[in-house]
Every structure is written in C-alpha cells, then in structure tokens.
Symmetry: C2
Subunit: 383 residues, 2 copies
Amino acid sequence: MSAFELVKTDGAARRGRLATTHGLVETPAFMPVGTRGSVKGLTPDDLTGIGAQILLANTYHLSLRPGAELIAEMGGLHRFMAWDGPILTDSGGFQVYSLASMRKITEEGARFRSHLDGSEQFLTPEIAIEVQQALGADIIHPLDECLAHPASRVETERSLALTLRWALRAKAAHAKGAGGQALFGIVQGGSYEELRRRGVEETCAIGFDGYAIGGLAVGEPKPLMLDLVELTALLLPKDQPRYLMGVGTPPDLVEAVARGVDLFDCVLPTRNARNGQAFTSAGTLTIKQTRYARDPAPLDEACGCATCRRFSRAYLRHLFTVGELLAPRLLTLHNLHFYLTLMAGMREAILSGAFPAFRARFLAGYAVSSEGGLPETLQDTEA
Amino acid sequence: MSAFELVKTDGAARRGRLATTHGLVETPAFMPVGTRGSVKGLTPDDLTGIGAQILLANTYHLSLRPGAELIAEMGGLHRFMAWDGPILTDSGGFQVYSLASMRKITEEGARFRSHLDGSEQFLTPEIAIEVQQALGADIIHPLDECLAHPASRVETERSLALTLRWALRAKAAHAKGAGGQALFGIVQGGSYEELRRRGVEETCAIGFDGYAIGGLAVGEPKPLMLDLVELTALLLPKDQPRYLMGVGTPPDLVEAVARGVDLFDCVLPTRNARNGQAFTSAGTLTIKQTRYARDPAPLDEACGCATCRRFSRAYLRHLFTVGELLAPRLLTLHNLHFYLTLMAGMREAILSGAFPAFRARFLAGYAVSSEGGLPETLQDTEA
C-alpha cells in the first residue's frame, strides 16, 4: 500500500509525499541502488546521514544470491540489510534483458541462464511477484519485457502487448498477497509516441499504486528520451507517483523533474565513484588525474559531505592510486550526497515556486567545467 | 618528544600514559595499522569511535607512494590522512627485509628494489630519519636490520652490531631535527639471550625516548618469543615505554602485557577481516563458512560494536560471498573494536589489581572454540 499526496506544483514539476509501510518519502526523490542488499561500501547509518529516504534493491540478483527464501527466513530484506526505511524492488525484467544469457521469452515468462553459474532460471509474472513478496519491499513491480533501442514498431507493439498481459497477471498475483506492498505498473512503448500513449492508457486501466516509466536510457538520444518522459508523464494520473527507471545524470534528474517525474534510481553516483569520478556543482571530476596529486582542495568547495569536510583531492587521489578500500567508500558517499542534496534543492525550489530559476542556475553551473569522460547514462544494475 | 608516566603495575603488567605532541596514549595500547596512510576501509571518525588512540603508518610504503615530500607539502601525515591523534612510523627496515627484492646491506645502508616498479632505492639511517621527519609522525624509529629465524649466532651478532651502529647515526640525525618527534630505539638480538641482553644494554646506552622490541614473530616458536619478550622487557628501563613490534593474536597481547609490554601493532585484525576472519570472545570465526548462511546471530554476542549491533552473520556471509565492499569494512571495524576493547579491559584490570584473573578468564574463554584456520601470527605490513 502506498498513498501519494501532491503538495505543490511549479509548472510540471511536483513536490509530493509518498506514504509507504516503512515511512514517508518526500518527492521528488532519488533512490540509491543497493543491488545485492547493500549500497556499495555504505552502511544504513551512512545513508540516513546523507538524507537517503528510500533504497532500490534488485530482485534478480537477490534471488540468485542469497535467495529470496533465505532472506524471508532472516525476517525479510529490511531486517537482513538493517535498513528500516522504505525499499523498492524491480521485477528482474531489466536484468534478464541486460545480464542474462540465452534468454527465451514466451507467453508464460522468461527462461534464461544465470550470469553467475549458467544455471537455468525461469521467471513468470507470478514468480516475480512471489519473490518480491518474500523479499518484502514496500514497492514492487510486475515482470516486463525490455527492448533494446532501436526496435521496430511491430516488435515494440508485440512487446508492449506482452508486457500488458504480464501486468494483468502480476496484478492478480499481487492481489493474493498479504497486503502492505504497493505495486507499481511499468509503462513501456519504446520510442513510439503512439505506443507510449497506449502503454499509459492500458497500464492505468489495469490500475496500480504508481507508475514507472521503463525502457528509456537504453541508447536513444537524450532529447528523444526527455520528449518521451514529458509525453508519458503528462498522460499519467496526477494523484499517483511517477518513477523514471534507471535515470540518470544530475542534469537528467533536473530535466525529468521539470517534466513531472517524482522518483529516480541510477547506478551512476555509486558506480562512477568506484571508478574515481566525482559529481560536483561544477560538473564531473576524475580524481585519478595527475593534476590532483598536490591539490589540497576538497572534491567540491560547495559540498558539506563528510568526505569534503575532511579530505583533500590529493589524499583521495593517493587512495585511488594505491587501491585503498577507503577510496570508493569516500567517493560513493560524496556522490550520493551530491545527488540527494540536488533532490532536496529541487523539493525546496518547487515549494517556494522557484523551480525554473533553480533549474536554469544548476544547469548553467554544472555545464561550465564538466570534463565529460565516463559515459554518463547507463541504465543498469551495480553488479 | 614523548614522556611516559607509569600509573600502576600488577605483577609485570603496566598501566601507563604516554604523552605525545598529538595527545596522550593510555597504555597498554594497540595501534591499528594504516600502512599507506589509511586503516583499510575505515575513516578517522570510525577509528575514534572504537577507541583507537594512536595509529601506525609505514615509512617504506608512504615514501614510495605518494612520497614523503608530497605528504610534507600537504601539511604532513596527520593532516594528509585527517587523523589528529598520535602517529608512529617504523623506519622501513622490516619492509626492506620482507618485501623488497635484491636487497644489499652495507655499512652505509640498504640498497634494494621497489616492490612496485623495481626502481632502485637506497635507505640509510640518516635518510630514514629524514623521511620520517617529512612525514611528521609523533614517534619515529631508526633504521635497523631484520634477520629471518633461524639465524646463526655469528650472523645475529654481526647484524646486532650493525643495527647498533645505525642506531647511533639515527640518533645524531634526529638530534638535528626540529624536535617534537620522539625517537624509539629498536632492540634486536635474535633468539640469543646473551645478544638480547647486549641489545638492550647498548641501545639504552645510546638513549632513546622509548624502546621497541624488534625481530620477533618472524617464525620462532611462540614460547620462545614470549621468553624473549619477558627477558627483554625485564631489562628495559621501567620509566620508558616498551613497544613489541608486529605482535600479535589476542592471546599474544595478553601474554605480552603480562610480561611488561606497553605498545603493540599488528595487521591481524585488519588483514584477517578482509579474508573473512572475525576475532570474538570465544575465538576466531570464518564468516564465509556455509554454517553461517542462515545464522541470525551477530559475530559475537558479547560485542557492542556497530557491526554486531546491526548485522547478522547471515548478512555478513552474504556480503563476503558476493564480494560487496561493505564486507571487509564491517569485519575490520569489528576486529579492531575487539582488539581495542581487549586493551581497554587490560588497562582497567591492571588499575584494579585484577590483571591475573582477567588474563586467566580471557585465555580460558578464547581457547575453547577457536577454529584455528588462518595463520595467526604474521609480522608484516598491510600492503
């Protein structure tokens, strides 16, 4: 069960409040990714300390190791990972698409081989719900089919229809559960405006507690992605939360909030931290570069995180150069703090009717000195 | 400069207080090892939180990367690693012995190749002091020669004489420094009682701010090690601190405190944590074992650390199984907490005249269910 309250709007941007079994989520919100039941290198206390409200965990990875049944026996995912706040799980559809080999999609479900040991796995809409019920997240999702970009209209239409039939089965399976878990629908439809419209209409006709926008950030050009987000968000019910799956860079978040999105998850802040890339108010910074070897400044002068309050770029570069365990931890903390502070800034701006100015200022500052470097848009898990 | 105050004795066990430029150290004390300027996976705040008073860093590793000159430019090691408490550095002699290849010892010093890139390095007693002055630790050491066990009497006598001549040169070099750094002497002498006696006499004749017992835990039988510790400690001046280098297991610490040792360092709690071995009040525990897969208990029911308060063995085993970054961090925190709590217990016991009972109770409880497993005594650095 979740209930969404729309607190304030500023243009299409929305300031909301999502009630879950494990507490409230002030939106727009970013969910740090804890693929295998851990946000890499950080404890729940670290996450609370930087303002994380809700985490995402991956059904596919957890069901392979340690297994949903073991987690249920240990009291569910919240207790297992010692996170008392809300958790959202995906259905595993995207991981089947992106990680698993030899997958075969039929009407019944998805048959594939584990990326770990090659063992045969079978996922149906019913099994995906059952596994997520065992994990016990606050927000769960139906199994869907993801397509790579580009896909033909015919192929996209076929896939959308399958996702919609699976969504019906997921809803029926969810209805048999104990309650307490919100079920979001996933809107597919590829890059085709008409199919996205159909995706919204038919998913909403089934009726869910919230709506995820899926199948974006899989290789399509960014302007197209934002157009599709805008189109989809405009069609979705105003009184329910909207979740853009797997997106994105800091500017992506700002642009998607401007188009009416409430929830986000992405591996960029955590994965790029492990590769030495920091997000800062002036753009990205690759700490391994020689130019930082004798730089006494923090990663971001404007940042108040524990990493920036304590450590210099010179020290962080040293930790990366010698391969110290502390290096990815400190950069992950900083990057997530940056993302979560950005979301808090947007919430504040919407509330005070200053979102357009916030958006313009952020994008101008961020663009100035961005180094580029690593690819910034990856819809993927942390494994 | 350091000043040692002997607060209380209980048999040979000593409760003391060591004053350094960066604050007091209540002894007996254990120094977590921060080989390359970081105690693996932990922040200074983590270390303060579990009661760490003083850290050890390795001159050899830091002088190769990032270089002592760079650290000096960044304001010294304390500022570089953001640790405001006392720091002790070794001279690099043990690393030259254990890590460096193609080493050649002459009267002048040690010529060897870097374990990183094979580049030729040259360390003299004067250079070792100079490098440690650049790092700026509170307690520094003269270059010494380490011998493997067993070594012949003739070889040990030759080596001891060289170490003593180097100690004289180190003292002269230290005297030219700015002050503020205590210089400890290192007592060598191998497994030969007579040579250990000579080591103590001649090192004390030179005169240092404290005395390290070196060249132990390098392969000799444990009873012999404890006998040599006892012999050496008895001969050392009562009003100065005694540091047993690179030792040891929890029982080793208790036995050495019982013989009058004040300071310890060892990589066991940190290195073994990364291999999944936890130290507990009932002995060691290898968390990767299948038997812990569904174990809801903490690592140690008697432990109050943040890891044991929050996480089950089942979760920790899962983190190790899938290779999560959080795994070594959580076990390192627990193991160091265990070591530091053990030291605090010994300090308390000595103060109240109950050390013999503490020692007997600890050793009885610890021995019962110790699994064995990993080798427990390693005098080595963390690299």
